[in-house]
């Protein structure tokens, strides 16, 4: 049997247990909603305006930078696994690959994209 069957079983059980706990609370707890109770919380005052206000674009930039690095780092895993057998040549190649990543990071830094403005 494939190992992934067990992972699937873990997923199923991992879903059942929290659903069971929340379901038990749903059965046992009282439910008497009223408009004031269901109001959006905001530090003792009524909430003003819409939740969907304009948001800082900086988060988006960090997500973009992350995406590049994340994808590239995944490429490094096969390299790391076989590193012991490949010898110095593969190490130098890997270092060049990482340096390209670092140049990307330096470029982002120089462009001021890592500043919180």
């Amino acid at each position: 049997m494939s190992a992934w069957v067990y992972v699937a079983l873990f997923l199923i059980v991992g879903l059942i247990i929290p659903i069971g706990a929340i379901g038990a609370a749903w059965v046992l707890g009282p439910r008497k909603p009223n408009p004031i109770k269901r109001d959006t919380y905001e530090c003792g005052i009524e909430t003003v305006g819409d939740t969907w206000v304009q948001f800082k674009a900086q988060y988006y930039i960090f997500a973009l930078v992350f995406l590049i690095f994340d994808v590239e780092t995944v490429f490094l895993f096969p390299w790391a696994v076989k590193l012991g057998q490949l010898g110095m040549f593969a190490v130098i190649e890997g270092i060049i690959f990482i340096l390209i990543l670092v140049v990307g990071l330096a470029y982002t830094w120089r462009k001021g994209m890592l500043e919180w403005v």
């Binding site: 049997m1 190992a3 069957v5 067990y6 992972v7 079983l9 873990f10 997923l11 059980v13 991992g14 879903l15 247990i17 929290p18 929340i22 038990a24 609370a25 749903w26 046992l28 707890g29 009282p30 909603p33 408009p35 109770k37 269901r38 109001d39 959006t40 919380y41 905001e42 909430t47 948001f55 800082k56 988060y59 960090f62 997500a63 992350f66 690095f69 994340d70 780092t73 490094l76 895993f77 790391a80 696994v81 590193l83 012991g84 057998q85 010898g87 110095m88 190490v91 890997g94 270092i95 990482i98 340096l99 990543l101 670092v102 990071l105 982002t108 830094w109 890592l114 500043e115 919180w116």
Partner: protein, 395 residues
């Protein structure tokens, strides 16, 4: 004797005999046994989770010169169970304008993301759980579900604080995933395998002695991934009150809370496995599977205790400082360390083991020293620049 060595197999054989007696096909009997085993493991984890609440409260109160829960049972041990009962019979309110499907799914996913991490946790030489050959990547993938659940919770609550908390938390988790991924590459290089069990079995010398800096960076990144103080931007209670889980009540909030505690303990476990030999301790793990589990849990608790210690000692860092710390310090250091380790690994491949370990250790220490000195130099320059432009009134 057999039961002590390999309790899982003995139990599985016994159950298989029973199920075969009922005339069940072998494949289905196997799946049913695996299901039961996983269910028992996760139920025990939930029990551990309840005790973690007690441990966390006791430890924080000692850090703050308090006594902590001490009324219910000896040392207040029954307190967390009373809390669970309270959470169960609380009213569960849903805020106005919440996206109901996502709102209800988020706490479930948050708990699940932690529980499925235990799929690749090797508990003992005979209990490896699932021995995936891509175990390290699996840890990262499961962590991504946790990030997703936080975004879902913050977005679906229809609350400004939730949304801000979720955005911050996601930015932090994404950013610190880069050094964490990079540091997971280092045990992979040493062991020549991505499997978590293989990494444990390859640690004749604890990888902490080969890469102390990697262990430290991994712990820092893990704390940020967990969203714990000093990196708990997402639930900064002094500004966002509770952050992404602000609109949750009752058991749904309990799931977030319990998930966070178990997540911290799980990462203490992975820290132990990647850098401190997991269940291995001078051959003691071969005596009995139970002893191996006890060793792993002892190491995991030490990691968890360090995480708690940092949490209750340090102040919260501002979000811009935190992201700058990651992108301008931790990530460059992590990449430099990765290159150094790969290079030294190839250079010292044929060296005797004392030279190999010593060379690795020294290169790590030197790199840590150089990184700290560079950071100190630039932060002093920055500070002088700021102090030069704005005159501070003498006090």
């Amino acid at each position: 004797m057999d039961f002590l060595k390999d309790p899982l197999k003995v139990a599985a054989d016994w159950l298989l005999g029973i199920f075969a007696g009922w005339g069940m096909a072998e494949l289905w009997a196997d799946i049913l046994i695996a299901f039961l085993g996983i269910f028992v493991l996760i139920a025990l984890l939930m029990l551990l989770d309840i005790l973690l609440v007690w441990i966390e409260r006791k430890v924080v109160s000692r850090f703050q010169s308090r006594i902590g829960p001490n009324r219910l049972g000896p040392f207040g041990l029954i307190q967390p169970f009373a809390d669970i009962i309270k959470l169960l019979i609380k009213e569960d309110t849903t805020p106005e304008g919440a996206d109901r499907a996502l709102y209800n799914l988020a706490p479930i996913l948050s708990m699940m993301a932690v529980l499925i991490l235990w799929a690749v946790m090797p508990l003992a030489p005979t209990i490896l759980n699932v021995d995936l050959n891509v175990g390290v990547l699996y840890i990262i993938a499961a962590g991504a579900i946790g990030t997703l659940s936080i975004i879902m919770a913050g977005w679906s609550s229809n609350n400004k604080y939730s949304l801000i908390g979720a955005f911050r938390e996601a930015a932090v988790m994404l950013s610190f995933e880069i050094p964490m991924l990079t540091m997971m590459l280092i045990p992979t290089i040493f062991a020549g395998s991505m499997g978590v069990a293989a990494i444990t079995q390859a640690q004749d010398v604890w990888y902490f002695f080969l890469a102390p800096l990697a262990a430290v960076i991994f712990l820092v990144a893990a704390i940020a991934e967990l969203g714990r103080s000093p990196f708990d931007m997402g639930e900064a209670e002094s500004e966002l009150v509770s952050g992404y889980n602000i609109e949750y009540s009752g058991m749904k909030f309990g799931m977030f809370y319990a998930g966070e505690l178990l997540h911290a303990f799980t990462f203490g476990g992975f820290w132990a496995i990647l850098f401190f030999g997991g269940y291995r301790f001078f051959g003691l793990e071969q005596v009995s599977a139970f002893l191996a589990i006890a060793i792993l849990f002892f190491k995991a608790f030490i990691g968890y205790w360090i995480i708690m210690w940092i949490k209750y000692t340090l102040l919260r860092i501002r979000i811009d400082h935190m992201l700058a710390f990651n992108w301008k310090f931790l990530t460059p250091v992590a990449f430099t360390l990765l290159m150094t380790t790969a290079f030294m690994n190839a250079l010292l491949a044929d060296a005797p083991s004392w030279l190999y370990v010593g060379g690795m250790f020294l290169s790590n220490v030197l790199l840590a020293w150089a990184a700290l000195e560079t950071a100190r130099y630039y932060s002093r320059r920055e500070r002088e620049k700021v102090e030069g432009t704005q005159k501070v009134a003498p006090t």
